[in-house]
Point group: C2
Chain length 184, copies 2
DNA sequence: ATAAACTTTCAGAAACTTCTGAAACTTTAT
DNA sequence: ATAAAGTTTCAGAAGTTTCTGAAAGTTTAT
């Protein structure tokens, strides 16, 4: 590994835990993404100086996140690993996987609690707040799925638009006035 | 605590660790948000059955995330705590704080690495990939800040628009054709 | 100045997560 | 059938985080 690759790998290891996986899994991901050649498990273990067992678990986890895929190289006995897609695809997968882990269970619980009968007077009030949280999380979920379906090019257009989004919204209110609600 | 509040508090405790803070901090946040009355530290410790010391640390952390604020009740000696704002504000704070912890350090590192001289031939190649990651993260950052500045009402309009966003983008390409790039 | 009411800090205990390496397993070639 | 090449699993060691509770600190009232 060149010094640049080493720095990146170490950093992604440290950040890994903040992004939902552990240090070695983060390092492995960085290494696989930055290498042009497919990598074998043993090469990863050697490069990162971690045990072969840990490597195996890490590869399994990265596959469960659908961030890497196996690639069979003809004439070779062992399996090789490559990124599961472009940077854009990988970022999306991380997003989606985290949504599943961080938001979906809460949405389920909130829906259940909203169906419960209020046992005390201020429960109705509590349920109102839970409802508010639910709606917000649901909007975020719907919205992030929407962005994923847009694909990278359109998203890029949208992002380059930046603060123009507000203007576009106004535009839309004028062009399609019957559809949205009539606020501000 | 009524059964509904108890369920919500326990759940937010479990999710807490996925959202960037620990179990008790998650529970404390849920409790404070769902209570209409300001709560004192001792009341929180009693309700959640945790030590007074842990409560103190948790309150400090929630304040560092700017999710709760102290509120002095006249005639009372102790401090009381209330949410720092509406659900919308709180969600935004969590988002922003996580951006600071999860994305900003990586952006800094990537910028530094891109300035390094390529030491080996394929470093140029690696730097290209790092650049791609950098641009993606930067777009996400800029975009999320944009959404925050829109405020809840406009964001809501945008969210209700849902799959209409694609259509609006096309619309914009037709109405303001000189500005964006001319893709697909 | 003293005491009462309250908060913060911090050392170490408890709980949890991650990592290793050896043993068990699978696949392929001969 | 056997051996060689490779992978997976898992018990326990190492490391990390979280929590408690007692001691130190702060503020306010008298």
């Amino acid at each position: 590994m060149t010094p640049i690759v080493t720095s990146a790998v170490l950093h992604f290891g440290e950040m890994g835990s903040r992004w939902g996986f552990n240090r070695t899994v983060g390092q492995m991901l960085a290494l696989i993404v930055l290498n042009d050649e497919p990598l074998a498990a043993q090469e990863i273990a050697d490069a990162l100086n971690i045990s072969r067992g840990n490597t195996s678990m890490g590869l399994k986890e990265l596959q469960s996140w659908r961030l890497i895929k196996q690639q069979h190289v003809p004439g070779e006995r062992k399996e090789f690993f490559v990124p599961a897609g472009s940077i854009w695809v990988l970022a999306n997968r991380v997003f989606e996987e985290r949504r599943k882990r961080e938001i979906d269970p809460t949405l389920t619980l909130l829906r259940d609690l909203m169906l419960d009968d209020p046992a005390h007077e201020n429960d109705a009030q509590v349920q109102h707040k839970l409802n508010e949280i639910h709606d917000l999380l649901e909007s975020v979920t719907a919205w992030s799925q929407e962005l994923q379906h847009l694909g990278p090019e359109k998203l890029n257009t949208l992002m380059k638009l930046g603060s123009g989004v507000g203007r576009i919204l106004d535009l839309k209110d004028r062009v399609l006035p019957t559809k949205g609600e009539s606020q501000s």
